[in-house]
C-alpha cells in the first residue's frame, strides 16, 4: 500500500535531517564566506607564520626564560606553562581543602558542621571574579613591605611577594630563597578557596551516598569516627566522588583563565595581549579553544583512569 512521503514515518526523519542539515550548511557557508571576505579585506587571512615574529612585550613572570625579542609562540608557550603551573597546584590544594571541609560536615561537633556549611554557602553565591579581585587588591596588595612585612617561621609575606625558606632583609628588600609573586599567590588562593567549596559539596554528597548501615556496622565493630571515615566510608564514597570531581577539575582549569584580572600571565592573558598586538583574532581564538579543550581532555582521561581504579573494587 502506498504511503505518501509526507506521512511516511521512515522517510520523515530523513527528510527532517536533510532539511536541518541543509539550513545549517547554508548558514555556515554564509558566515564563513563573510569571514574570509572580511579577513582578506583587513589583510588578516588565516596564517600561522606570524607566530615566529618577535613578541615585543614582556611577561611578568615565567618558568621558561622569556624576553620581548622572543617569538610569539614562545610567549604563548610561557603562558601555557604558567596556566599549567597554577592549575596543578590549585587542583591539589582545592582537593585537600574540599576533602577536609566536606568531611567536617559529618563531624560530631555541631559548630564545625555549621561552619563547613556556612563556608560553602558563602563561597558559592559570590562570583569567582569578585573573590579573585578581593584576594589580589584587598588582601595581597595591602601587605606591608620591608621590615614591616609579616614574618612567619617558614615564609615572609611582603608586598614584593611571598618569600619561602629563610629570606634575608637586604636594604629593605627581602632576598634569597624562593619568591612567589603576589599575582600567583592571589590567583592560587582564590582558586583554591572557590573550588574547595564546590569540591566540599561533592565530597559531602559522596559520603552521604554511603548507606548508613556502613557507619553502624563499623561502629559496632569498635572503630571510632576517624577510622570509620578513612577506612570504611571514604573509599566507598570515592565511587561517587571521582566522576563528579572530573567536572570540578575541568571547571577549575577553565577558571584559571580569570588570571588576567590578577595580572598573572596565564595563557589567556598572553593570548589577549597577542591578539591586541597582531589583530589575528581567528588564529588566537583557535589556539585558546584548542588548548583549553586539550586540557579538559587530559583531565578527563586521567579522571577516567582513576574512576576505573576506584570502581574496580566492585564485582
Amino acid at each position: 500500500m502506498h504511503t505518501p512521503w509526507w506521512r511516511n514515518r521512515r522517510l520523515l526523519p530523513l527528510l527532517v535531517q536533510a532539511a536541518v542539515g541543509l539550513v545549517v550548511l547554508v548558514m555556515i557557508a554564509y558566515l564563513l564566506g563573510n569571514l574570509v571576505r572580511n579577513l582578506s579585506a583587513a589583510g588578516l587571512l588565516l596564517s600561522w607564520r606570524w607566530l615566529n615574529l618577535p613578541a615585543g612585550f614582556d611577561i611578568s613572570e615565567s618558568l621558561l626564560p622569556f624576553n620581548a625579542e622572543l617569538p610569539y609562540w614562545r610567549a604563548l608557550l610561557a603562558g601555557l606553562v604558567n596556566t599549567v603551573r597554577v592549575v596543578l597546584i590549585a587542583l591539589v590544594g582545592a582537593t585537600l581543602l574540599g576533602t577536609v571541609v566536606g568531611t567536617a560536615a559529618f563531624s560530631s561537633n555541631g559548630l564545625l558542621r555549621r561552619l563547613s556549611c556556612t563556608y560553602v554557602e558563602l563561597i558559592r553565591n559570590v562570583p569567582l571574579l569578585l573573590q579573585l579581585l578581593f584576594w589580589y587588591f584587598v588582601v595581597f596588595l595591602s601587605l606591608p613591605d620591608g621590615s614591616a612585612a609579616i614574618q612567619l617561621p617558614w615564609m615572609v609575606l611582603a608586598k614584593s611577594g611571598l618569600h619561602l625558606g629563610s629570606p634575608q632583609l637586604v636594604n629593605g628588600v627581602w632576598q634569597g630563597s624562593l619568591r612567589i609573586t603576589l599575582e600567583f599567590a592571589a590567583l592560587l588562593t582564590g582558586l583554591i578557596i572557590h573550588s574547595g567549596a564546590f569540591i566540599a559539596e561533592v565530597v559531602r554528597g559522596g559520603v552521604a551516598a554511603v548507606p548508613p548501615g556502613q557507619w553502624e556496622a563499623a561502629r559496632s565493630l569498635g572503630l571510632h569516627a576517624g577510622q570509620t571515615l578513612s577506612r570504611i566510608v571514604l573509599p566507598q564514597a570515592l565511587r561517587v566522588i571521582v566522576p563528579a570531581l572530573n567536572s570540578q577539575y575541568i571547571s577549575l582549569a577553565k577558571n584559571s583563565s580569570l588570571a588576567v584580572a590578577c595580572g598573572y600571565s596565564d595563557l589567556y592573558s598572553v593570548a589577549e595581549t597577542t591578539l591586541n598586538q597582531t589583530g589575528r583574532s581567528v588564529e588566537v581564538v583557535l589556539i585558546l579553544l584548542g588548548t583549553y579543550l586539550a586540557m579538559d581532555l587530559v583531565i578527563s582521561l586521567v579522571m577516567n583512569r582513576l574512576n576505573r581504579l576506584v570502581q574496580i573494587q566492585e564485582r
Partner: protein, 254 residues
C-alpha cells in the same frame, strides 16, 4: 461500558496478522512468521515462556514495535509506515502495561481526561463526567483527585484500565497486567478484566494467569521461540494439548 450501541459481531475481524516477521537491530529473530486472527468480542490469551516474543507480538498491534515482513490489519486499517494510519489505529486500540505507566504528575482524573481532550477534541466537562463514571465502574471513584503515587499497585492498574477505556477503544491489549502486582491485588484487576470481557470488549491478553485464561478466554495461543505453537480453546488447551511444546510449557507452569 463502551459498547452498548454496537453488540459484538463475531463476524467482524479486529486483528488479522499474517506471516509477521521481526528482527531486532542486533540480528535476533524475534518473530518468525506468526499468524493470528482475532474476531470482535473475542478474548484471546497469549501465553508462553519468557523470550517467546509474545509481548513483542502484542506490541506490534499498536505500532509500538515495528516488523519487517508480513502484514497486520487492525480494525480494518493496515499497519504501514503511514503516520496517519498509525495514529488512527492508536485511537481505537487501548493498551494496559505491566508497569501501569500512569502519569505521576497528573491526578487520577487528569490521567483519564488528558488523551480524549487532546486527541479526540472532546469537551473537558463531558470527558470528566465519563471519566468519573469509569472510575466508579472500576471501583476507584473516591480516589479521583489523588495522585498515582498515593494508590496501591492494584488501584493504579485499575486506573490504567479506566484510562484506556476513556478513549472508547474497540480493542484492548494487555501486556502482563498483573505480573508486577502483589498477589493479593491480582484478583481485583482480573475481576475488572472479566467484567470487560462479559460486556463484549475485544481483548488480547498476554499473561501467566492460568485460571483467568480458563475462565475468560475464548482461545489460548501458545508462543515459543518467536512462533505460534498452538491455538486452541482453553478447555482443550489445558486438558489435552496437541503439541509437545505445549505439553512441556504446561508442565513447567503447573
Amino acid at each position: 461500558m463502551t459498547s452498548p450501541t454496537t453488540a459484538a459481531d463475531p463476524g467482524v475481524v479486529m486483528i488479522e496478522a499474517r506471516a509477521v516477521e521481526k528482527w531486532y537491530p542486533n540480528g535476533f529473530h524475534a518473530l518468525r512468521g506468526v499468524d493470528l486472527t482475532v474476531h470482535q468480542g473475542e478474548v484471546v490469551v497469549i501465553m508462553g515462556p519468557s523470550g517467546s516474543g509474545k509481548s513483542t507480538f502484542l506490541r506490534t498491534f499498536n505500532a509500538l514495535e515495528d516488523f519487517q515482513k508480513g502484514s497486520i490489519v487492525v480494525d480494518g486499517i493496515e499497519l504501514s509506515d503511514d503516520v496517519r494510519r498509525i495514529d488512527a489505529i492508536r485511537r481505537e486500540v487501548g493498551m494496559v502495561f505491566q508497569q501501569f505507566n500512569l502519569f505521576p504528575h497528573l491526578s487520577v482524573l487528569d490521567n483519564l481526561t488528558l488523551a480524549p481532550t487532546l486527541v479526540r477534541h472532546r469537551s473537558k466537562a463531558e470527558v470528566q463526567r465519563q471519566a468519573l463514571e469509569l472510575l466508579a465502574r472500576v471501583g476507584i471513584h473516591e480516589q479521583a483527585h489523588k495522585f498515582p503515587g498515593q494508590l496501591s499497585g492494584g488501584q493504579q492498574q485499575r486506573v490504567a484500565i479506566a484510562r484506556s477505556l476513556c478513549m472508547e477503544p474497540r480493542l484492548l491489549l494487555f501486556d502482563e497486567p498483573t505480573s508486577a502486582l502483589d498477589p493479593e491485588m491480582v484478583q481485583e484487576v482480573l475481576m475488572v478484566m472479566q467484567e470487560l470481557a462479559k460486556e463484549g470488549m475485544t481483548m488480547v491478553v498476554v499473561t501467566h494467569e492460568v485460571r483467568f485464561a480458563r475462565q475468560v478466554a475464548d482461545r489460548v495461543v501458545l508462543m515459543a521461540d518467536g512462533e505460534v505453537v498452538e491455538i486452541a480453546p482453553p478447555e482443550r488447551f489445558f486438558t489435552a494439548p496437541q503439541h509437545p511444546r505445549s505439553r512441556q510449557f504446561l508442565n513447567q507452569i503447573s
